[in-house]
Symmetry: C2
Subunit: 561 residues, 2 copies
Amino acid sequence: MEAKANGPKQEERRRTGIAGPTNPLVTPLLSDLYQFTMAYAYWKAGKHNERAVFDLYFRKNPFGGEYTVFAGLEECIRLIANFKFTAEEIAFIKTSLPKTCKDGFYNYLRGVDCSDVEVYAVSEGSVVFPKVPLLRVEGPIAIVQLLETSLLNLINYASLVATNAARHRFVAGKSKLLLEFGLRRAQGPDGGIGASKYSYLGGFDATSNVEAGRLFGIPLRGTHSHAFVSSFTSPDEIMDKSLQSRDGSSTCEDFVSLVQTWLSKIKWSHLLHGIFGETNQTELAAFTSYALAFPNNFLALVDTYDVMRSGIPNFCAVALALDDLGYKAAGIRLDSGDLAYLSCETRKFFRSIEKEFGVQDFGKMNITASNDLNEETVDALNKQGHEVDAFGIGTYLVTCYAQAALGCVFKLVEINNQPRIKLSEDFSKVSIPCKKRCYRLYGKEGYPLVDIMTGGNEPPPKVAERILCRHPFNESKRAYVVPQHVEELMKCFWPGSADKAREELPPLKEIRDCCIKQLEQMRPDHMRRLNPTPYKVSVSAKLYDFIHFLWLNEAPVGELE
Amino acid sequence: MEAKANGPKQEERRRTGIAGPTNPLVTPLLSDLYQFTMAYAYWKAGKHNERAVFDLYFRKNPFGGEYTVFAGLEECIRLIANFKFTAEEIAFIKTSLPKTCKDGFYNYLRGVDCSDVEVYAVSEGSVVFPKVPLLRVEGPIAIVQLLETSLLNLINYASLVATNAARHRFVAGKSKLLLEFGLRRAQGPDGGIGASKYSYLGGFDATSNVEAGRLFGIPLRGTHSHAFVSSFTSPDEIMDKSLQSRDGSSTCEDFVSLVQTWLSKIKWSHLLHGIFGETNQTELAAFTSYALAFPNNFLALVDTYDVMRSGIPNFCAVALALDDLGYKAAGIRLDSGDLAYLSCETRKFFRSIEKEFGVQDFGKMNITASNDLNEETVDALNKQGHEVDAFGIGTYLVTCYAQAALGCVFKLVEINNQPRIKLSEDFSKVSIPCKKRCYRLYGKEGYPLVDIMTGGNEPPPKVAERILCRHPFNESKRAYVVPQHVEELMKCFWPGSADKAREELPPLKEIRDCCIKQLEQMRPDHMRRLNPTPYKVSVSAKLYDFIHFLWLNEAPVGELE
């Protein structure tokens, strides 16, 4: 049960110039046992080096939507680039397989790496659609099979949470700040780290997760909790009461008294008179103390006792005292209650303060809301009207409660240059055979119109040339398209041999920018929350014919008696 | 963006004889930024060493049930035992906090560890209930606050998935084999590893996840996928056709022909005549090849083409050929279609084979079912009647689709020996103040009757002595109990100083056994799926009075005008 010391092992694996996976637990053993039993059976049958092509794709967009954000590619390439079994790992595999397995297999495993594997993939952060491969992995069948589970694991959740984040951004609007607060409720430590990374990729602005900030350079946000407030008893316990003014020109020796003075001014002000009685002194002590620690970044959680009768007046007293010394308070956070109502009341209070005391921009003070928010609640808040500037979103974002999983699959589409098809009585589960090329065709208005898959050797679609796009399984659904722009979707991210060109892995910020840009480029009716229009995914006429030829060939013919 | 080399760091941290967390990403930085801003504010106010007591608990049982399995404790203790900031980590925190923060704070962080922290906890694998603390963490407030996020992260998902597993076991029944197959759909790499670990803890028998098998000694299971089947073309491609008999006494030179012979015997048998026509030869080749690789462990996935017309006859032909050589086939797996119908038809077929060819126990052949199973579908299969011996459960188990999160919270209940309460307009969100002791009281029939929390200095409930148990918030709900057995729930798992006694961390298998035993000990009406009876959680009369005294003291008095 020892924690694994991964330092040296990671080093040993790193022969490709590409770092290992972020999580050291991602090793060639992060896989299903059946990949190893199959690898053995391939090896035993002398088939292990047969050249196979697998497509990784999903069948249905998540969250009832019509788009998906592709994420997780960098971690896949990191795994592939460093894919090598250690002696300890091979010894463990040996104990996990039947004793009858031949030793030659373990010798074979010792030499396994991905130098003979090729990976073509859609760029990370792309908007993607069902059936079109996200990854095409080609190589010796046993090795590609050994990659299956880890690739699915690294892409499924990454893409799901990135899509979830994009959907939250869509409903919140461009101008709001979106903060990911999910670490404590995430599905394990790197459920949390992955959520932070891929929420940022999908359009969030910042995270509370410090480790994710360190690993990926994501901006960090956070203030204080209810426990901080209730750890105080009264302002009397504040020992060091002095605060230097922002410009250093003077020092207020008793900031606590200054706050109390402001509190009574607010209480007896004409505009606010009678709105509140005595505020909670525990809370006032906590706010004052927090402001003394962070005079430039004073952001207070105002709902420990009563937002309008205690939290907001206390916050304003401290903020106005800070203002006297040249500091600008950062704002407040609401973590319970009716966020629409409370944010509007708070905004009114802030505006009254601005008016009554002539403090410029006090009415524009930042209001952050948190507390079990999700796509629906943000949408409901929008409909009702609110004054929230920033949303802190946790549980429902990171656990993707609205969708169990993306459900990517990894299907054999060709072996030894022979196309393979996986049939099913359910059309949506039939795989599209062949080593394919995939294109996105753009229309006159700059929107993507359709994705098209063709056989590997077909000529690519050409700009301004009419091409027939067919639904892969429905013979009546087809359309001619004259693309204004043609984009090939899959690029080579792992060419196997080191001397071949490969796409660079861009930094996270660049992937995020690309994602946001692509999302904005989509035709709005594909993106709306209710009844979005499906984006069309098609095959070329030639590939269509071939699929159906193969299908008839493979499907059993029934017998009526 | 370098992967973290954790080897040396883990070593440096390991001064307590307790290994670091399983996932090297679990460090003191796996936390929300606000823990650090609060720590700074405590330090700035000179409050950081004030002695605080926090309770970690949840408010509602998950999955609409009335019980929860507690899991994740060992990982928490591993974190606490090795909690120490590295210079690199402190440097990162410095870049994340405002520049105005004093350097003294970073010097303070350098010395932080958990030698002055005490952790009392319920044993891992226990059946637990809302409001009763799972962990009580006592120590300097700044340090305990820094632990909050990681502890919640390590417990929330662990307990949720362990509870989910226990619920699946309950509905499947004791006699079925439960296999966790969720790695590819889990929320990230250690979402998968955690799911495997805690599903096993909650009563599953095995996992497909090789890394989890290696880390925790969980039994591994797995056979082959559809890709394996479709990678073959025909039996002609099998080169090495020989198979030695199980006892080594003879060798069958052409196992492929032996299989073909059996296939035609089955086809023309009296009992099975007309059930199927030509079976798929690709599939037959794959099965034959797999049997040649694993003659002692032949388990075949039978639904690539058509279960009853191809998969089952092909499987039986290979299994009967193996039987000729003294091998016993392991069984089949169904991964699509109507599992109730197909398992019953398969069982009939197997029984006919047993009868027709006199192969003992062939009718009892293992049938494994997979394909998007969950608690509800297993329940529905039971109601309809099925012949499944083993369930492979993935997505819905590991992602806990039926419940977003357990929702554990971490609340300050005492500081400097002063009890603290967190109020809320929602009763269920009011915290129970004081450093408490918690007991489970058992009745005459051996069932647990009620959990009771008392103040830290109250005498413990005594066997055969009447005690009043009160609902913490509802004055009319109370009951006298005469316990036949009293169990103190929280034990010291981290005493801080090395010379004090602490509970051992038992091996996973022992935790699992304890969990299964406790679940069996519960009164059945608490455990049923529909409308279970809530298990009672109470406070002593003295604690009840104190809670309500404090409540009145803290709650603001409204003003009517």
